[in-house]
């Protein structure tokens, strides 16, 4: 016992922890945190805990991972099937990244709704925006390191977007790729970004963030009708802290419980669902890839498809920058005044609109109705119920319908591509003339098939389409579009 005390004293004399760390651990926080509302203050710690899990699992993965285009895929398979617990570490790293992004969103939303970014904590928020950006870039570079088909084409999509930057585009492409094409240099660059540069940046920002959290204090739970006034806030906060509770141990216990739950949930998900990928081999000659980004980038993926061509480049390159600048501007636009969400309807509306937009775009991105189903023309036959009632000509039309890959964009009875309208009942919407015009001239995001079909094929196809309607309903008699465009229809149409 005496020896332990001696060692402790020796260390303490040199480290002086009693003067440095201890006051930080015991720094006072608002007494209200001892109440159940204290649970609202755990999200930042949860994000931090998942980050630490990312660092530890990431360091382990880096011991096996080969950051070269030639060997990366094999090293991922080695991790999945050979290295002890390799699959679990990959899974934890993936699910913890997912958890980190989720908790970051929750943390930021809570800070925003509770007005915690207001005076004197503007800088804490600003650094937090930097942490969000860095985390998202880490997420993307991490997705690239999972070197498979999605990863290869993900880089291709990212540089195609970056290549649209006016003037500097080609240079940016070369800098990202580390050369002329996606190769070994590209993967090395993403590896260096993911394991050295971005974590360094993240930890740097985090140190500032935590320093500010301790120095500027955490905000007290907001009370409606008690706005932040820059002239009096500091004094009132001082007074509040006089009756405050020490961070350690009181507030830390809640953090401890929440963080332990976060880790348990992440490890649980990792055990249940396992690691993500790697999927298809990253070979540029395998063109049947249907690349899709990880879930956090699905809204961006969707936006690239849904934006009108004239604004597309601006939306792709400008919107993320505007989004980050808008977040950064928040404490400078609304740096004082009411903090309670009950008195800030605009703030609540902004949160709602943002989340609904992201979720709708994300849902679109996950189901991607704009993408043709590339296999449908050969794998999704015309339903039996339709075929059995067809005449020979109509049957021929059904064959044309399959062979010309119409199924890739058009579904029948729900099966097939979703890019164009489902044609199960098209016979009640369009008359034969309108159908011919649509097939031959295209339009409304459909290619013109004038060169791809002869008039016999068009005749058969339209006979088939006219037949497509529920029993007992007559075919459409009136053209569904303006008459003048009919004149432009080629004369070889029936």
């Amino acid at each position: 016992m005496k020896t332990i005390k001696q060692v402790w004293d020796w260390l303490e004399h040199r480290l002086e922890l009693r003067d440095s760390i201890w006051p930080v651990m015991r720094h006072p926080v608002p007494a209200a945190l001892a109440k159940p509302i204290g649970w609202m203050y755990v999200f930042g710690s949860m994000t931090l805990t998942l980050l630490m899990l990312q660092i530890v699992t990431g360091v382990c993965l880096a011991m096996i991972y080969q950051p070269t285009a030639a060997d990366a895929y094999a090293s991922l398979e080695y991790l999945n099937y050979e290295a002890p617990f390799g699959w679990l570490l990959r899974a934890i790293h993936y699910w913890s990244a997912t958890g980190m992004v989720v908790m970051l969103m929750v943390h930021m939303t809570q800070v925003f709704l509770m007005g915690a970014f207001k005076y004197p904590r503007e800088l804490t928020w600003l650094v937090g925006v930097g942490l969000l950006t860095t985390t998202l870039v880490l997420a993307f570079t991490g997705q690239v390191l999972r070197y498979d088909g999605d990863s290869y084409w993900g880089v291709s999509v990212a540089v195609s977007a970056a290549g649209r930057v006016p003037l500097a585009g080609p240079s940016i492409v070369h800098l990202i790729l580390g050369g002329e094409y996606i190769g070994s240099e590209t993967l090395s660059r993403f590896f260096t970004l993911h394991v050295f540069i971005l974590p360094g940046l993240l930890i740097g920002l985090l140190v500032v963030h935590l320093y500010l959290v301790v120095k500027r204090g955490i905000s007290e739970p907001p009370t409606p009708g008690e706005p932040v006034d820059k002239a009096t806030y500091d004094e009132e906060y001082e007074k509040l802290l006089e009756k405050g509770i020490p961070f350690f141990p009181h507030a830390l216990y809640r953090d401890g419980v929440a963080c332990a739950m976060a880790v348990l949930i992440v490890v649980g998900l990792a055990v249940i669902f396992g690691p993500k990928g790697p999927g298809e081999i990253p070979d540029p000659t395998l063109i049947h890839a249907e690349p899709r980004p990880d879930w956090y980038f699905l809204p961006v993926f969707a936006m690239a498809a849904l934006s009108p061509p004239s604004m597309e480049t601006f939306l792709m390159l400008g919107l993320p920058v505007i989004g980050i600048l808008a977040l950064a501007a928040v404490p400078f636009v609304a740096g004082s005044g009411e903090r309670s969400a009950r008195r800030r309807p605009v703030a609540v509306l902004v949160v709602l609109v943002t989340f609904v937009t992201l979720m709708v775009l994300g849902w679109y991105g996950a189901t991607s109705p704009w993408s043709p189903d590339m296999e449908a023309w050969s794998s999704t036959p015309v339903p039996d119920g339709i075929v059995e009632k067809l005449t020979p000509l109509e049957l021929q039309g059904a064959v044309v319908f399959q062979n010309k890959c119409c199924r890739n964009c058009h579904a029948l009875e729900g099966a097939g591509g979703k890019r164009g309208p489902d044609l199960t009942e098209v016979g009640i919407r369009m008359n034969p003339e309108a159908m011919v015009r649509q097939v031959v001239q295209g339009g409304g995001n459909m290619p013109a098939y004038a060169q791809q079909m002869n008039s016999a094929e068009v005749t058969a196809l339209v006979a088939f389409l006219v037949k497509l309607r529920p029993a007992g309903i007559p075919p459409a008699a009136v053209p569904s579009a303006a008459a003048e465009s009919l004149v432009a229809a080629p004369t070889d149409a029936p």
Partner: protein, 172 residues
């Protein structure tokens, strides 16, 4: 080295002034000495390598009126690229003499377009861009037709000039 004349007669102050300037000048030199190679290294990829002529095969391999996907080795590929050192192109032979070599990358955001021979269309699986068989834009979000590589016929062989990843400002 020049430094502002000291207003004081004290040799101590004069020496401090000299030290201060030495620190600044030497510091700048040291920063440049270490910084130039670092920045130069990082910006290395800005020095662009030209695409190279590579053989895509014998002319008679390509039937008239057909479009074929062929796998080649990227002439710029280097050690450690693995499969990434490969490159695929679509070769269309319109008639005896007329060839078109398309990049597989969609002009919208670079995804691999698929050739659907029966429909005579190229379709992109990402955002649904569609092109006609001559590479012109048919529908969907792409801002232009497919990227085409420079090519020539020589001694019965089809030569294609390729290497870099085509993007809007640096097409084939």
């Amino acid at each position: 080295m020049t430094h502002s004349p000291s207003t004081s007669d004290s040799p101590d102050e004069e020496r401090r002034g000299l030290l201060q300037w030495s620190a600044i000048v030497l510091g700048a030199l040291a920063t440049a000495a270490a910084g130039v190679p670092i920045v130069g290294f990082l910006l290395g990829p800005l020095r662009k390598r030209e695409d190279q002529w590579t053989s895509a095969g014998k002319v008679e391999q390509f039937p008239i009126g057909q479009t074929r996907l062929i796998d080649l080795e990227n002439p710029l590929h280097s050690l450690g690229d693995g499969d990434a050192g490969k490159i695929a192109v679509y070769v269309r032979r319109a008639d005896e003499e007329k060839f078109q070599i398309f990049a597989i990358n969609c002009t919208h955001l670079g995804c691999p377009v698929n050739w659907l021979a029966d429909a005579g269309l190229f379709m992109c699986p990402c955002h649904g861009g569609v092109y006609y068989e001559d590479g012109s834009h048919a529908s969907g979000p792409p801002p232009r037709g497919l990227f085409q590589y420079e090519h020539r016929l020589e001694k019965g062989a089809l030569l294609v000039k390729l290497g870099h990843l085509p993007t809007l400002q640096q097409p084939g």
